[in-house]
Symmetry: C2
Subunit: 215 residues, 2 copies
């Protein structure tokens, strides 16, 4: 969905940080890498892992989770099963802004029985480029490379309407906290969910609170 259309069709009160992020994406859209972000997780040995991934859009108009994709054979799938905590660092060169988004990850694989998440996995597969889809038919990522088998990399790319390959996983970041740093104006904002009260804990989703903090 185009960003302008996405902003226009959202009916509910969208969190301020989501609106800001959509605006930053629009302002930086001439840069091919404005959708590249760095995703940090924690390995089982308590060391951090950090890699560049491509933002594939918000989960839906009503859900502010960020989506990415990964290969079921990649090391991060096992790491996330042991510790789902993640933080994304997202730098926009054109507007000189950084967003940090933290929360927990869900990996949606072929075996996932959640209907909405499975539908999102199929939609993102459909929207991938052909070379993007082809990678999921490649040999096991990260293993020693056997250069004597060039044919392994020339497999035909699955079409958008082909069945989703089992190696294709959707990665969903459920965002709990967002920090925006604007280098041009030296402003910094923290967005956190309002604290639940004893009475309101089971009520509607909590509103986000904005706090200006020192840069």
């Amino acid at each position: 969905m185009a960003l302008a259309a996405e902003a226009a069709t959202i009916g509910r009160a969208v969190p301020v940080w989501r609106s800001k992020l959509l605006k930053s994406l629009a302002q930086n859209k001439r840069l091919a890498n404005s959708r590249y972000v760095q995703l940090a997780t924690v390995r089982p040995d308590n060391r951090p892992a950090n890699r560049t991934v491509v933002f594939r859009g918000f989960l839906s108009d009503d859900d502010d989770s960020l989506t990415f994709v990964t290969d079921s054979r990649s090391r991060k799938v096992g790491e996330v099963a042991a510790n789902p905590a993640a933080e994304v660092a997202w730098y926009f060169p054109e507007t000189r802004e950084q967003y940090r988004l933290s929360g927990n990850l869900t990996i949606v694989d072929a075996a996932s029985t959640d209907g909405a998440l499975q539908a999102a996995r199929k939609r993102v597969w459909h929207n991938m480029s052909d070379p993007g889809r082809q990678q999921f038919a490649w040999p096991h990522p990260g293993l020693p490379r056997h250069l004597e088998d060039p044919k392994a990399w020339d497999c035909p790319a699955p079409a958008p309407t082909d069945p989703v390959l089992d190696t294709f996983c959707l990665v969903v970041l459920h965002v709990d906290e967002v920090e925006q740093l604007k280098l041009k104006s030296n402003e910094r904002f923290l967005y956190r969910r309002q604290q639940a009260t004893a009475e309101g804990a089971a009520a509607a989703p909590l509103a986000w609170v904005e706090e200006p903090i020192n840069p």
Copy 2:
């Protein structure tokens, strides 16, 4: 020091990954943000932290550690004291390459008694821009902002030759492992230090081994 000059004046056998990184920096130098990298660490609650920092050069011609700067009052200083493990993700848009560099961090503050590290801290302070140096005289980063005191942000910038402010820390990443991913050619290389043998453990620094792995 200019990158070309840096490459030319190094006498010893430079690790392949350092030479590649210097070449990538030169090929991407038209982009102001080619020296911006994302540094991931682990917080005491076992959640990852991830933020954009500026690469300030290698520690020396003979030491392949990467350097950055931070404020002694920033949250990451306490986090690193509890867990020094870190991974840098570094994406170069022009050449479409990613480096991941992992290892342990050392924070060099005003109290550090290591002569070489203290000299490096002073050198990096000297090489900072005036606005870069000024930030270390600002109010405590990350605390709630008191907008009623705009004067706090207009403090004069310390000159290159002024004494180093106590809040100024050098951050040193001692690199143990490097991975390079080239998106244009779908190549991926892993660089690790050679395993120490029982006899050679106390000998000269171990050589780096390159291994091609599946992208």
